[in-house]
Subunit: 431 residues, 4 copies
């Protein structure tokens, strides 16, 4: 089997809804292609969903919110129960921690379900319902929703496959052979920003999630951002300097958490018997590889990112510092279409590197509503607002984020202890 | 797909080891046949193992304890790690509660593994190593071990398939259509036994597990045993009389357990909206069926069995009362070969009914060593002795016990709160 | 015993350190006076500390951070271990959830300990070390620290005494007889604010905790604040309208939390058998009393405050909206010196009522560092910064906050699920 | 304060009920005498009850089961709620794990409660109700019940006082100075017993708990019992030989338990920095003392006792082997009246030593009903029978068992993992 090589998908826009629909739907199936039926069933922790469940849930979204407009279409209420994620307004649902108990429908039946819904959606997209702006909004939301789950599917299957001693790769690939460990990290330099009263949030052109607006002004003081992400090499220095052993670097909750869990390095790292730094192994979607020093560190919690920044005499940027610095930059980077499925070293170039793709960058900003934010009425209003407590904002996308699914205003969010979602960091500081 | 119809297997004995080996091994594969790859991967609670794991683990047993005698055979240490159950002397192993994370080896690879070991075993069984009594003992132990897991496989898959709203049947079958609910339970009568100094335990002819010996005398007072098992109809009377609501019937641990868990009826029972007793539904390996009153109650915990007996003015038999009454009875009954996979009503005949098969009968006896018991040296000595604490003995086999795998001296054991293992009860009393 | 009637303490300032020291120390002892030795030992949940522990811990603070400057003073390391709260830099400590196991030192020995430290402190305060600004800072911090614990002592003992069916009052008092339930809440009106670029944070004159600075500008949009706090009468309407039963009002975490815990009303409320609203009973520090409708609701979590605001078509204020509106208001209200120990109804007057005292007002602001914030070096730097994750800011003090221990810039913080700390709410809205 | 020196109480019998009553009641108060109010309130784990609770609960027993016969006596239902232990038939009760939250009634009020009940009991005992055999039975049960709690009071307060770094002694005493560590254990020899059909259980003369009957015959094979208890010196050899590190010695549940808890030595042992065996410290009711090698090991779980016996090539006795060997022995030993509060070395004499007192001896027998056992009707029937699951029988009393409160037929019982109850062991073997 050849490596997953997702063709460069464009941002979802324009009027050819059928083509857009098929592009997104096909990408999901290509991502699932390397996985056996067994791989697709397993839920390795409460936060993870089985591949099969992702494939069915995104389909259920179209069936539930769009297909009621198609005459004669009838949905199976059992699927509605099994594949609703958290939409309280839509009704009861299968408990999230038990998604790994869903042996049936089988993987093949889920494939059939996808075909059935696709066929109905194509029929619907050929009617004049597509001229209804409300329908268009829901359709584009459904496509972006499926792209979010493409990213989650890869984050989740990485966790599943890492959970036994087999440490099986997600795909067969010759990628790892190209990796080596000797390279030094590019020098860390700082870009300076003036601050001031600056607009943030989505301006309304093109798709955005509700939590990206309303656009509004924020007041920023002068600040600096590091040109590149923190690397594995940087992180080894932190470890060597007792980073995980000294309470002074840590938030109180973080200190208790690392002591309760025994965390002493990023997730997916392990050490072979040799005592020097060359002995570190990192599990990737291509299987275990030697840790490369110049790659961005990934799979660290907010607790760890924050402790590292404090140790380094710096801090994490706020989400608005990040957004203001990024808003005029080209939205390109090491995303899913590049097919690396792993962060890559920074180029030795001037200016801000690695803004989009590679790793989701933890920010110092708790996830709260923007001034004037109001969720949409009805079930889709449950999309974002109800999660606005005890989470931190991350920005910029990562190596498994679909092409076209990232922008300067995009706000991702995870709890401070989460690690499986390709989180990393960039340093900031006051001027 | 037709119903699983396991051909009547004979007791494992005689000299044709190859034929015995193939019979047992084939039965396992027939039991797994109705199950998809997805079904075979899931672990629905810590006590349950995935079908795929059962199939591989029993194979690992032969590979680990017998195939070292075959020149040139090499075992895969990864499989040794994944499929060792609890043999500390053999080495580290995959944690039991995480058996549901083993996506790979795939179901097909496990099938290949079974073929590989079978082929090696057949080769080995054609050498003169089979003349070695120690080898014979291990071989027969391996076959009995696999039969135990056949029973567990069915107990476990029942739990797995019951775990979602689909309530999927294990097999497609016309069996349920033959069931109805109107029949009355056969009248309960008592058989009387004199007691005295009586021998119990295995006498050494034919196979037995180590925990069935040494054979020794016990002193029994006169006692009575009910002619039949307690039925669903009996149980509904217990419920109607507030059986689950009155502390006076219950062991203290049991009372706390049913209040913590909310148990108010046997496992796998549910009620539809109607208010009378006809509304009870029971999940079986053939899917949900209306509760039949004259069938033995099954899937009750020791706590419930004990409370029922106290409520009924009776008690549970000790394991020796049961064994002494049973020792001269024919070892026939509703076992796996009858293909019901569910307990059946008692025949309206005189004398003790339903002794073998139908349900494992909870006894009042904690699971302890017989006088003079000593485990075998080495890893196989871990088979039984190390579990002799905080478990109750059950006797007689059940509807999913393989033919030939039950005898009057057979001691099964489960913790007092266990319910998924086809446990039921027969009343006893003093004279 | 007469009611606790704490004399109006002034803000801690001026140069008479001995007088200030004695005022604060005496207040603590007066608060403990109504409590028996038994009362002072109990820890009713992990968040609660025993009264005895509070009394010893605040003493330990002076002993640890100030008395090293007194020649010849020797601290008992055992006390250092038992009564350190969370200062990692100071060394190992007794585990927080086990503070209720400290039978010894006895209450009398803790009283002796307080006397011993007081005597040493007075001696120290009579030396010229008091001219050292660093010493002054630590002393004032120690006094403010003790005042925080005065408040906590009352919050905690309320929880302790509520934990058995005795529902014992903290003090004997004739206060409850003055309470009745018939009064209507004052009408809710709105005060309007223009917003703009506004300074927030402490300006450096007088004491403030480190988390109140640096002073900096924030950008606020026009907003409105309710003239009074949300009342018990308001809350009963929320309950009657299914407030606790409809997911649409709740944050996702909050919805799960109230369903897991069964919360259906504020903490310390209970219902007698009558069915109308007059049947509600509220446990107070004066024992159980009938719920008075015009009193501010108190002991609600952030989850509940946020859900109420959404149900009411409003929102919670940000901490900066609250501070900007409050900064020019007189710092008076129903605080500890008024000796009510319970929130009081709003006066029927114009303008913002109940800003200081009564209840800590939940704000929509997560607890984060102000721009440029840096903790002090050394152990006292652990005071605030390390708790800046997954907490919400509350403002304004409550009925058990010591006089002089509140100001417009004061930032209190608790996790979203906390309820025992006298939290309530005031509505806000956009203009 | 001088050492607790409980006067030698005689077995509760004869007709002078007032004297017996006062003896038992006074002993309880003497045991509580060294304890402050603070000491008496604390519950250091779910299994432990506060001293104050013990003192009130045993009083409640008399009030509930006997004082209803006294005209005009009125019980406080609040006390009934707080101090009922587990009698379901008597009504609702305060949750067991929250006994440490009962600050009120105070220790002094509990003393008053005891006086109030005592005065009423004395009045009642002077009426002719004492001629009623049923009354006599309940009275004697109440006295034995209080003696059980005297033992528990000491077991529990030992746990409470050990729970902080203070390791405070229960009493001031010069006892520890008499202890030294150099002595060798007496040689281990075996006493042989023929077995046969032997009577066990109480014969009806004098008081016994219901679980000691009915008297019945058991069939025993020839067996041997060690002359003395296993000592600390023996245990150090077990540790040195990797006793806690080798799965082969352990029950499966025990192996998991010691690995989950980290147990590597008996409870209350700790090691100072020196590396040889002289460095072991043992917490006793007289505070920490150097471990004495010839003293019986105490505070081991059944898991540990069973593992030790297997390691030593022996086994634990059954309760009937123990009882048959003991039935003709004098009931004397190191019990509470000897005032040691700690097990003592065996005398260098022939024959079975240390049968009564010193440590409760774990037996291989699960705690089950004797043939024909039926609990008494009503609430007192809840005394023993409802605990007959998942517990092991212990025999012989310990150093804190009241004088007269032990006999050959006495059956104590604890779960396999319990350690705080002065459990130790004597080896047995087949002949």
């Amino acid at each position: 089997m050849s490596a997953v090589d997702v063709s460069p998908a464009e941002a979802i826009s324009g009027e050819d809804f059928v083509a857009q629909y098929l592009t997104v739907r096909t990408t999901t199936e290509r991502l699932a292609e390397p996985l056996s039926a067994e791989d697709q069933v397993i839920q390795s922790m409460d936060d993870v969903s089985p591949t099969k469940w992702h494939r069915a849930h995104v389909t259920w979204f179209f069936e539930t919110f769009l297909l009621p407009r198609l005459d004669g279409y009838e949905a199976d209420p059992t699927y509605g129960y099994l594949f609703n994620s958290y939409y309280e307004a839509v009704g009861e649902r299968h408990p999230r921690p038990h998604r790994g108990l869903i042996s049936r429908p089988s993987v093949d039946e889920v494939t059939d379900y996808r075909h059935r819904v696709d066929e109905a959606m194509i029929r619907l997209l050929e009617t004049d319902v597509v001229d209804d702006p409300e329908f268009q909004d829901l359709l584009v939301l459904g496509l972006n929703h499926e792209q979010q789950h493409q990213e989650l599917l890869l984050m989740d299957i990485k966790h599943v496959l890492s959970s036994t001693i087999l440490q099986a790769p997600y795909r067969s690939s010759n990628a790892p052979s190209a990796r080596f460990q000797s390279a030094e990290s590019a020098p860390l330099t700082w870009s300076e920003f003036e601050g001031g009263i600056l607009p943030v949030g989505h301006d309304g052109s093109g798709f955005a999630f509700d939590n990206e607006g309303p656009r509004h002004d924020v007041l920023l003081r002068p600040y600096r951002l590091a040109n590149r992400l923190v690397t594995n090499g940087d992180w080894l220095e932190f470890i060597a300097d007792g980073g995980y052993d000294r309470a002074e670097h840590w938030l109180s909750d973080g200190w208790h958490h690392i002591n309760r869990t025994g965390w002493r390095h990023p997730m997916y790292w392990s050490q072979s018997v040799e005592s020097d730094h060359e002995s570190w192994i990192q599990y990737t979607l291509d299987g275990p590889v030697a840790l490369r020093l110049d790659e961005p560190v990934v799979h660290v919690s907010y607790y760890e990112a924050d402790a590292y920044a404090r140790w380094a005499g710096a801090r994490l940027p706020t989400e608005f510092e990040w957004e203001s610095a990024t808003t005029s930059q080209p939205v390109t980077g090491n995303l899913l279409p590049s097919s690396n499925l792993h962060p890559m070293p920074a180029e030795p170039e001037d200016g801000l590197q690695q803004l989009f793709g590679d790793v989701w960058e933890w920010t110092a900003s708790p996830y709260v509503a923007y001034p004037g934010f109001a969720p949409a009425p009805g079930a889709v209003g449950e999309y974002n607002g109800k999660f606005m407590i005890d989470q931190q904002v991350l920005r910029g996308g990562c190596a498994v984020t679909p092409g076209g699914h990232i922008r300067p205003t995009y706000r991702n969010f995870f709890p401070a202890k989460a690690r499986w979602h390709f989180g990393g960091l960039r340093l900031a500081n006051d001027q």
